[in-house]
């Protein structure tokens, strides 16, 4: 059995009951068009073969620097953008082969919260109507019942009944993010992609929203894919964490394992770069050379090799497979030649 087959096998095995979402070898390439005829001259490989699962009721943290493809992963697995290749199973059904009607039914179960609460809400619609919109689209309840549901949702996210009649500009950033969360909850979804849900908010407000998301997860048995660049936030919210670099997942394991025993040199550098609010702490920092290369023209072999402090000549030649070096129960997936 080759390594790639082994990897596919493992994700499939697990996909039976525990997993809500199974992602297999997901790829999303964006075309670069040039010239008068807008011919495709190149491809940006935003996501280039990502495989992972999300278990029922857990929060999977997806962390990486800007341009690593984490947002594209979040949107592609909801089929908000069409994939180039790969499969995504939601409760055992491949969402890329579903018809439009089937997809619409499925959308009730899958929601997304974006980074910017200012542009996520229609400025000309009272927020109550925004929250009720999804209910109306899916033909749930009478207008009166829907209004009651909206009021109930507003209270759940820490707002007041009278807020339903107000417009988005009358709210602060934190309040708007609460409204967006209420709207995401309206259809009682099973799965929510949280794409940088707090990074546009002030520090003292971030904690309010993190706590709220955690409370709601418990109450509604929600499963989250939590996308963020802030490693401290990811540690705080996640059960398991996946680290992305240039379109690839380079490491995936439980939160405890990742933060205590990071194996991939990129994860190690990333963790050592986080400033820690403790002035007595003196840490040895792994400083990476240079910038993240462009996904338009990713390096050969392991994509991290030009910046990797421990790369060998072999790393430039061949791409490392993504393998589980832990056990089945305590998995630890990593893509690095130096680990194997």
């Amino acid at each position: 059995m080759t390594l790639t087959q082994m990897q596919v096998q493992t994700t499939l095995d697990l996909s039976t009951d525990q997993d809500l979402v199974v992602v297999r070898d997901l790829k999303k390439y964006f075309p670069v068009r040039r010239g008068l005829l807008q011919r495709i001259t190149a491809w940006v490989k935003a996501v280039d073969g990502a495989s992972f699962t999300i278990r029922r009721g857990e929060t999977l943290g997806l962390v990486g620097e800007s341009g690593c493809g984490k947002t594209t992963v979040g949107r592609t697995i909801l089929r908000l953008i069409e994939p180039t290749a790969g499969e995504v199973y939601f409760e055992g059904r491949n969402i890329f082969t579903l018809s439009k009607a089937e997809l619409k039914t499925l959308r009730r179960d899958m929601q997304i919260i974006f980074q910017d609460p200012y542009s996520s809400l229609d400025p000309r619609m009272p927020v109550g109507a925004s929250i009720a919109e999804g209910l109306a689209v899916h033909g749930i309840g009478t207008p009166k019942e829907r209004f009651e549901m909206v009021v109930d949702l507003l209270r759940k996210v820490g707002l007041e009944d009278y807020h339903a009649r107000r417009y988005p500009h009358e709210f602060s950033g934190g309040q708007r993010q609460r409204i967006v969360i209420a709207r995401a909850l309206a259809l009682r979804p099973k799965f929510i992609v949280c794409d940088e849900p707090i990074s546009a908010l002030d520090v003292s407000i971030q904690a309010q929203i993190i706590n709220l998301l955690k409370e709601l997860q418990e109450e509604f048995k929600l499963t989250y894919l939590f996308i963020a660049h802030n490693l401290s936030v990811i540690e705080h919210v996640s059960d398991r964490v996946a680290v992305m670099y240039l379109g690839k997942i380079v490491e995936l394991t439980s939160r405890e394992e990742l933060y205590r025993n990071p194996l991939h040199p990129y994860t190690q550098a990333l963790l050592s770069a986080v400033p820690i609010p403790d002035p007595t702490l003196k840490r040895e920092r792994i400083l990476l050379k240079g910038d993240v290369p462009s996904p338009l023209n990713p390096p050969s072999g392991c994509r991290f090799h030009p910046r990797c402090p421990v790369a060998t000549r072999y790393c430039a030649r061949e791409e490392p497979p993504f393998v589980n070096i832990g056990t089945r129960e305590r998995e630890h997936w990593v893509a690095c030649w130096r680990i194997m």
């Binding site: 620097e65 800007s66 602060s172 934190g174 309040q175 002030d202 520090v203 003292s204 407000i205 971030q206 904690a207 309010q208 993190i210 706590n211 955690k214 660049h229 490693l231 401290s232 936030v233 540690e235 705080h236 939160r255 933060y259 550098a269 990333l270 963790l271 050592s272 770069a273 986080v274 400033p275 820690i276 609010p277 403790d278 002035p279 007595t280 702490l281 920092r285 400083l287 990476l288 240079g290 910038d291 993240v292």
Partner: protein, 332 residues
């Protein structure tokens, strides 16, 4: 000028900068006093809209209408910058005090090569030739760790990554060896591995050139790693000031405590984060008493002793220990 036995470089006293908008008067900076010693890094911390950026722009006298500096003193090496004639202020900016911002690319002129832009600093301030300016620009780019500086000097700003552009900005800011550098959220727009590079560079250059830095940030992690002293701002005022150890081990103002409790700390997993209820007040309609009072939990806990004082009277900034000042009725 001496205080605490060390040389004071910048002494800001009772600075007031208001913005006269159609909706009313925004008291962005309302009686801010602090000082910076030679060669030290002072962290100016607070959330968006607390007045930390306006404070720094006021020091540089870069406030434009509808904003106006209404009062106070900005004593830089004993000279009040607010009274300095504009031509002298122009000479001072960039040579003795310089500034870097959050968005480095938008601070550079998009139609000139970065080498020319740095060279211009030397041409304008020191009257050197274009060739000599270019030579020194390349030298500076090398100093701030830009690989292949001879070639990079020919780049236009859009050809640089965010981290590279911030290195160029730092090179320009330090070109003339200023005594004070104001860095306004210099790494907020950058990725964490690039942020680590830039902070490392700033620290190294600060040590080598003995430049004092005012580091404006909202990230308490950066404060802990970089700063010697910290001033915490809230709604246009400084509410606590202390050395960096004290701020983290013995924060006294309820806002500082709340801020520290609300941030997730890597390696310390807690089931819940502490929160500060409510939101930052509108700077047009400020509460009459302490500006933090409407959100303050400590006020409710100590209501028996304090009564309604917090809601009626704004507390002064008082000393509670050596170099430790707090604006709160809980003290002394």
């Amino acid at each position: 000028m001496q205080r605490d036995g060390r040389d004071i470089l910048l002494d800001v006293r009772d600075l007031r900068t208001y913005f006269f908008t159609e909706d009313g008067v925004v008291k962005a900076v309302d009686g801010v006093s602090f000082h910076v010693r030679r060669g030290e890094i002072l962290g100016l911390v607070g959330e968006s809209g607390c007045g930390k950026s306006v404070t720094s722009l006021s020091i540089m006298r870069l406030i434009t209408p509808p904003g106006r500096i209404l009062g106070g003193q900005v004593l830089f090496d004993g000279i009040d910058l607010l009274k300095l004639p504009e031509p002298e202020m122009v000479r001072l900016r960039g040579s003795r005090i310089s500034m870097i911002f959050q968005q480095p690319v938008s601070c550079l002129n998009p139609v000139f090569k970065v080498g020319d832009q740095i060279a211009e600093v030397f041409q304008v301030h020191e009257g050197v030739s274009r060739v000599e300016g270019w030579r020194r620009a390349v030298e500076l780019l090398r100093m701030v760790g830009i690989p292949d500086p001879e070639r990079r000097a020919h780049s236009y700003p859009h050809e640089l990554s965010g981290g590279m552009a911030q290195r160029v900005m730092i090179a320009m800011a330090l070109a003339l060896g200023p005594e004070l550098l104001i860095a306004d959220e210099p790494t907020t727009a950058l990725d964490v591995t690039i942020q680590a590079q830039i902070l490392d560079l700033m620290r190294e250059l600060q040590r080598r050139m003995h430049t004092a830095i005012i580091l404006i940030t909202h990230d308490m992690g950066i404060v802990a790693e970089m700063c010697d002293r910290v001033a915490v701002m809230y709604a246009g005022q400084i509410i606590e000031e202390a050395d960096v150890q004290t701020i983290f081990t013995n924060p006294q103002h309820p806002y500082t405590r709340g801020l520290l409790g609300s941030i997730p700390v890597m390696g310390v997993v807690r089931p819940r984060l502490d929160t500060i209820p409510g939101t930052v007040p509108n700077l047009i309609n400020l509460p009459p008493g302490c500006r933090f009072a409407p959100r303050c939990q400590a006020r409710l806990e100590h209501q028996a002793r304090l009564g309604n004082r917090c809601l009626e009277e704004n507390p002064p900034l008082i000393h509670t220990g050596p170099g430790h000042q707090v604006r709160c009725w809980l003290y002394p």
